[in-house]
Amino acid sequence: MIPTNYPETEFGDLHRRLLGLRVGLLLVVGLLGLRLWHLQILEGPYYRDLSENNRTRQVLLEPARGLIYDRNGILLANNVSSFSLYVTLEDVKDREVLIHQLTELLGLDPTVVRKKLETRGSKLLPRKIKDRMTLRDATLVESRRLDMPGVMIQVESQRNYPGGLIAAHILGYVGEISADQLEKPEFGDLHQGSIVGQYGIEKSYDRHMRGMAGQKSVEVDAVGHVKKAAVVERPEAGNDLYLTIDARLQKLAEDLLGEEQGAIVALDPSNGDILAMASRPAFDPNILSRELTSKQWVEIVQDEGRPLNNRASQGQYPPGSIFKIPMAVAALETKTMAPSSTVHCTGGYRFGRRVYRDWKAGGHGYVDLHEALVHSCDVYFYSVGQRMGIDVMAEFGKDFGLGRATGVELPSERSGIMPSPAWKQKAKRESWLPGETISAAIGQGFVTVTPLQMASMMATVANDGVNYRPRLVQAVMDRATGNLQELPAVPRGKINAKPETFRIIKDALADVVTKGTATRAKSSIVTIGGKTGTAQVAALRPGPEEDIPKKFRDHAWFVAFAPVQSPKIAVVVLAEHMGHGGATAAPLAKEVIEAYMQLPSQSPVVTSGLPAVSRHDEGSFTES
């Protein structure tokens, strides 16, 4: 025994007790070591796995999508906050109780909620029960959240089109990226749930407007609760677009069409700016930018009026008599006709064994080019067509942009058809029949055009042959730099024709309005030149117009430009099933032109002083 240094007292057994303490200490430390050996060696791999999966999660910060303005800075598309209600089934304690609570609180239909909760899918993923909630409902749910485990309110950015239906076909709509789109390289930086443009400018300028998603690094605990969040990368807002359209003119054009099916396009001939592009019937992009039920989607797609179809750029119609404008240019340029040479119109044109009729039963008598345009004499152009031949016609037609897309910044533009023997051989595997040349000469038969092509053609004539690509976007505002990048007009070439030719034709077109087939387009405030057209829908016309069911009635065309001396606007009106162009289409064109000429002088085009518009800058969060 170790000798003690102090006298024998009641503490005498201290050494024994200290020995006990040492043994106890070793025991306890041994236990600790055993426990740590168990944790680190035996269960080490298991905990290593847990720690690998623990870590941080990357959460995407959705960028604010670029805004769209008209040429005067009027807001056409922006983003608003929208509240959506999500339910994560895994966290729901009692489904029936939750359904009851939600119906009580928000007045939702219990069967709808039940159905949404019962659809197949992961229990761990939040499912959307309701979108576009009011702030009141959202706060109501938020305040009761503790009573309703599994319920979550998410703030989401919702595309909003303040004008409703206005310019719907131009703007298009947005939607969640599809599985097919995700595979494509141009959507490479996007992810499931990204919102992309699906139609219209929203689609064709998606790259500019979508911005760049940011990233947030979120540290989560073992049950996914966000413990700490740090923005790693700020989202970059998309760029804003300034369109060429004038919202006022656009609205007028749409209102003019009203309930009728058809299209109106107004162009600035000097640069190709589309001032208005209306197509009716239209859709509400606000609705299409939401998540639609399949029933809603079927309803829209199966609508007889095909509201999703942009008739201005996608509708293909026989041009009818407006095709006589390029025919007239061709006739003079190829010297097929001299301006003063005449054709005797007796109301019909015999070719082979068939007589091609003029629209006017008795005929127009002796007509020169001017008269033929003013009164839309068919026989004159039958004769021109036959002399000129289909190949020359096709060449000139192509020069005027027929049979090819104009290149406007809209998806799925159609190109129409400018027929030729080569085309027919390729498309139909049949040889060209001489009589088809006669039909094509007055814009019937195989010839089809879009209203936009006709507007562009009219603008080209008005501009003495100088052609610009029709365009919808005139400037892009770069959000990152704050620079407004103005896009230059895109020249598409020039019709190689003498100025004299255009002067003669424009004179004739002016007389069409003053004393010809389109006197209803005559304006007291501006000189207008134009040409009517009627596109045949059914080959045979078994009686007076009124007796034919509407869907077999002809389409009415009118193309116009004004003022005649120094054109500032070119307009095309296509009214489906409205009969003769002079009666129905011409007055609409006149209204558009007059309105345009009378519009209060436009504010300087977006060079400075951007309108202050509230943006929804903080994007919504989506777990990746």
Binding site: Y6, L31, G33, L36, I41, Y47, L50, R55
Partner: protein, 373 residues
């Protein structure tokens, strides 16, 4: 006696083994704090530098204690105790609140925890009490010192600081065992405790703060409140376990580096160390602690008088309790009670107090070897 003097080199009883053990443990602490507070906000003084500063202050306290005379110190035990009680009262009114507890007293730019220093003073008080005169009978051996402990204990629990409170009880129990209470007394206390338990439970449970109850519940039932305090325990276990044999290396601890592990530089520093240095590192650290305690117990057993022996035992008990409970709680063996790991956890008061205590231990050894006392 003279043999023993020559046996240990070093100045006037300063044991080099002892010093190097302390330095090694402190170094482990600084490295772990350095590692876990990497992502700290720039501009603030890094924690490891602050800890080095505390260690410097602690070294001064160590030397002062070593150079002093514990007999002299014991004389001031009661006044010091009264002083610290006043501080504990003061802290209840003027203290800085952090995480629901009022523990800190602002002292210029620093704040310190009176409860840490209260532990050392309590050891002095009890040692002084037992060494003064023969204490016989359970009243003198158990009840009176118990009454001495009680005010400090209650004040600390009021903050609330469960960890320091339990340390108080542990110090009291350890010294009680050392002065040799009879087995009947132990039995009586146990019986009394069991009988009183329901009432005490009610009182104790009712007086606990929510977070304390949650911590205890999380220990009893780990599935309870997975996002709450069970989170600490689970993350700590994951940290330690995932370290495996060799650890993930300095800065390699994903648990601690990515802040899954809360309080990585203070109460849970052991988990940080275990994650980054593995089971081997843990064995080394445990070995260092055992060595330190072993040397301390030797000092206790060879102390030249009762006061020295009791002081040494009290200090050893305090260290042992903190080490065992801290490691036990990070390893998921005990509930989480918020006790720092001596010499390793970041913290000014605890570091200075612990180093002062170790200085006092060496003082006890020094006095044993001083022939001319």
């Amino acid at each position: 006696m003279i043999e023993r003097l020559t046996e240990h080199r070093g100045l006037d009883g300063f044991d080099m083994r002892y010093g190097s053990l302390i330095l090694a443990i402190l170094a482990i602490g600084v490295v772990s704090i350095y590692s876990v507070t990497q992502g700290q906000h720039k501009g603030l003084t890094p924690y490891y530098l602050k800890q080095l500063m505390w260690i410097g202050l602690g070294a001064a306290a160590f030397l002062v204690m070593w150079a002093s005379d514990y007999h002299q110190l014991a004389r001031f035990a009661y006044p010091a105790y009264v002083f610290i009680l006043l501080m504990l009262i003061f802290v209840l009114f003027e203290g800085r609140t952090s995480k629901g507890a009022q523990r800190w007293l602002a002292l210029g730019p620093f704040s310190f925890q009176p409860s840490e220093f209260a532990k050392l003073i309590l050891i002095l008080v009890l040692a002084h009490y037992y060494s003064k005169a023969p204490r016989v009978g359970w009243l003198q051996r158990v009840i009176v010192p118990g009454l001495l402990v009680l005010p400090g204990l209650l004040l600390i629990l009021k903050q609330p600081d469960l960890g320091s409170g339990l340390s108080f009880v542990a110090i009291y129990a350890a010294m009680l065992l050392m002065v040799g209470i009879r087995s009947q007394a132990i039995g009586f206390i146990l019986l009394f405790g069991i009988m009183l338990f329901p009432f005490a439970w009610e009182g104790v449970w009712g007086s606990l703060h929510d977070y304390q109850r949650q911590r205890i519940m999380a220990f009893v039932d780990p599935g309870y409140d997975p996002g709450g305090k069970g989170y600490h325990a689970l993350q700590s276990r994951i940290a330690i376990g995932s370290g495996q044999l060799l650890g993930k290396g300095l800065h390699g601890g994903t648990q601690s580096q990515l802040k899954f592990l809360p309080e990585g530089h203070t109460d849970f520093v052991f988990a940080v160390f275990a994650e980054e240095w593995g089971f081997l590192g843990v064995l080394i650290l445990l070995g260092l602690f055992v060595g330190l305690i072993w040397l301390s117990l030797e000092i206790a057993s060879k102390a030249k008088d009762q006061l020295g022996a009791l002081l040494a035992v009290g200090i050893v008990a305090m260290l042992c309790f903190c080490i065992v409970v801290n490691i036990g709680m990070t390893a998921g063996m005990f509930p989480i009670v918020g006790i720092p790991l001596p010499l390793v956890s970041y913290g000014g008061s605890a570091t200075v107090m612990t180093m002062a205590s170790l200085g006092l231990l060496l003082n006890i050894k020094r006095k044993r070897l001083s022939l001319f006392y």
